[in-house]
């Protein structure tokens, strides 16, 4: 608990100094606001705002700290809207269909997510998969739009925008729509000798989704969004 001691130590010299008691913390706060710490290696830098399409890279660990993009807000909203529409549309259509000896079967994304319901223990996995493939990516898209829409319209952020953005950042590794799309391709090759397989419309939607996820990751700059959200 050394950190608690540190806090009181910071205020003590100021109290003893008397007159400068009020001046010291504010100056210090302004000083701190001008600093930026690398989240990966903890190195501290004095901030110099990069222009759009420039990057600020940590000198110690080479982590990209800031990478603002021209009109990033509007572009992210456009991409996230497209992802949302594709997710909803792709859930309804079959993504693969199989046929052999006159029998035919096609499967949608929700069918695949719910494939494990036959067995009790595996049923829990079904809901998790549905979340990873459809609901978490959709939730991230909605959260991003909620956070960015007022900012791009030059309005103050919506209520709870900071919480929404934090939640969306936490969900990032658990959004697996693009992995599912690659899984489709592997599954296709695996059953190719068992039966004739063909892609449904949802497969092409998910392929487009892979691309959009990459574009979105390239546009997003955490630092710029936090800065715009203010506090």
């Amino acid at each position: 608990m050394t950190s608690d001691v540190t806090l009181s130590d910071l205020s003590q010299p100021a109290t003893r100094a008397g007159a400068s008691a009020h001046a010291s913390p504010t100056r210090s706060a302004a000083d701190l606001a001008a600093l930026i710490a690398c989240p990966r290696c903890d190195a501290v830098f004095r901030m110099v705002e990069p222009a759009n399409n420039q990057r600020a890279i940590c000198n110690r660990c080479h982590h990209v700290l800031v990478a603002p993009r021209l009109r990033a807000g509007k572009r992210i909203i456009a991409v996230q809207l497209a992802i949302l529409i594709l997710l909803v549309a792709a859930s309804a259509y079959p993504f693969l269909s199989i046929s052999t000896k006159g029998l035919k079967h096609s499967s949608s994304i929700l069918d695949a997510a719910l494939a494990f319901t036959s067995d009790g223990a595996l049923a829990a996995l079904s809901f998790v998969l549905a979340g990873l493939i459809v609901f978490i990516p959709a939730a991230r898209a909605i959260l991003s739009i909620y956070v960015l829409a007022p900012l791009t319209l030059d309005r103050g952020p919506f209520r709870g925008a900071a919480f929404a953005f934090r939640l969306s950042e936490h969900l990032r590794p658990w959004s697996m729509a693009e992995i599912f799309a690659i899984g489709c391709a592997v599954a296709l090759i695996k059953v190719a000798d068992l039966a004739t397989v063909s892609f449904g419309p949802a497969f092409w939607m998910f392929s487009l989704l892979v691309l959009l996820v990459v574009v979105q990751e390239n546009l997003a700059c955490r630092y710029s969004i936090w800065k715009a959200l203010g506090a």
Binding site: R40, D193, N218, K227
Partner: protein, 258 residues
């Protein structure tokens, strides 16, 4: 180069702001912050162990249960891949072996090595270890591909008596193993890698005077897509750049309710 801890400050890993030592909640983004999580390595090892314990049954139980007119077979992960190989499709067999054996085992080794490196020192450069951590964090999610393939196959191949595929117990254990190793990699605080280079000051007192702080220099210009760092690419013209910042600066926004 100074770390926030050396300066008696606490950094927020979400919005990159720094706060006086002892601050527990970031005043900018509201996230819980700590200079270093003293439980970080225990969490890593705990989750690592659970992940490892799930990975063993994932390889013992069958992953797929295939019924066809001529046969009825249950395949484990490795067994299924080897069988695919015997049928001549070595390409997919290798993809499956890499995704479900090489990558998970590699992840266990790398996370363990990173955690050991913090406690007992490492011969690898900090930067190399940091890259390893980033690779593990990035690749970890992709192991789920095997579970997705099982889900797709068992929902798709439902042709009555001619052919049907049922998922096996191993799918559940494999998914759990991926989740726990992902959590384990996330629990690892990469700042610990760099702490060995700059030991914390004897007293963690924050002074008003930090001394010189290195200045961050925005250097590399790049353009979209996929050409990060390419020097030949031109950046948008200077007027263009000034005209439309990504977001409005809150300092200049008078109507913002703060």
């Amino acid at each position: 180069m100074k770390s926030a801890r050396q300066m008696g400050l606490v950094a927020c890993q979400y919005c990159t702001r720094v706060w006086p030592g002892g601050t527990r909640v970031c005043g900018h983004c509201g996230h819980h912050i700590a200079s270093r999580d003293p439980m970080s390595l225990q969490k890593v090892w705990g989750l690592w162990t659970v992940g490892m314990m799930c990975y063993i049954p994932a390889n013992i139980y069958p992953m797929l249960d295939t019924h066809t007119l001529v046969s009825d077979q249950k395949n484990t992960i490795v067994g299924g891949a080897l069988e695919l190989g015997q049928h001549g499709s070595w390409g997919i067999a290798i993809v499956i072996l890499v995704a479900s054996v090489l990558i998970p085992v590699g992840k266990f080794i790398v996370i363990a090595a990173l955690a050991f490196g913090v406690t007992s020192g490492s011969r690898l450069k900090p930067h190399t270890r940091q890259v390893l951590h980033e690779v593990v964090e990035y690749v970890g999610r992709w192991s789920m591909i095997d579970v997705f393939v099982v889900a797709i196959l068992s929902s798709l191949v439902q042709l009555g008596t001619i052919a049907s595929i049922q998922p096996g117990r191993a799918a559940l254990f494999f998914a759990l193993s991926v989740f726990f190793t992902m959590l384990s990699a996330q629990a690892f605080d990469s700042r610990l890698i760099w702490d060995a280079e700059v030991p914390p000051p004897e007293d963690l007192r924050a002074s008003d005077d930090f001394g010189p702080v290195s200045q961050i220099t925005p250097d590399t210009t790049f353009d979209f897509p996929f050409s990060a760092g390419a020097e030949t690419l031109t950046v948008a013209g200077p007027d263009d750049r000034r005209a439309d910042p990504p977001f409005t600066d809150p300092q200049t926004r008078k109507d913002s309710p703060t």
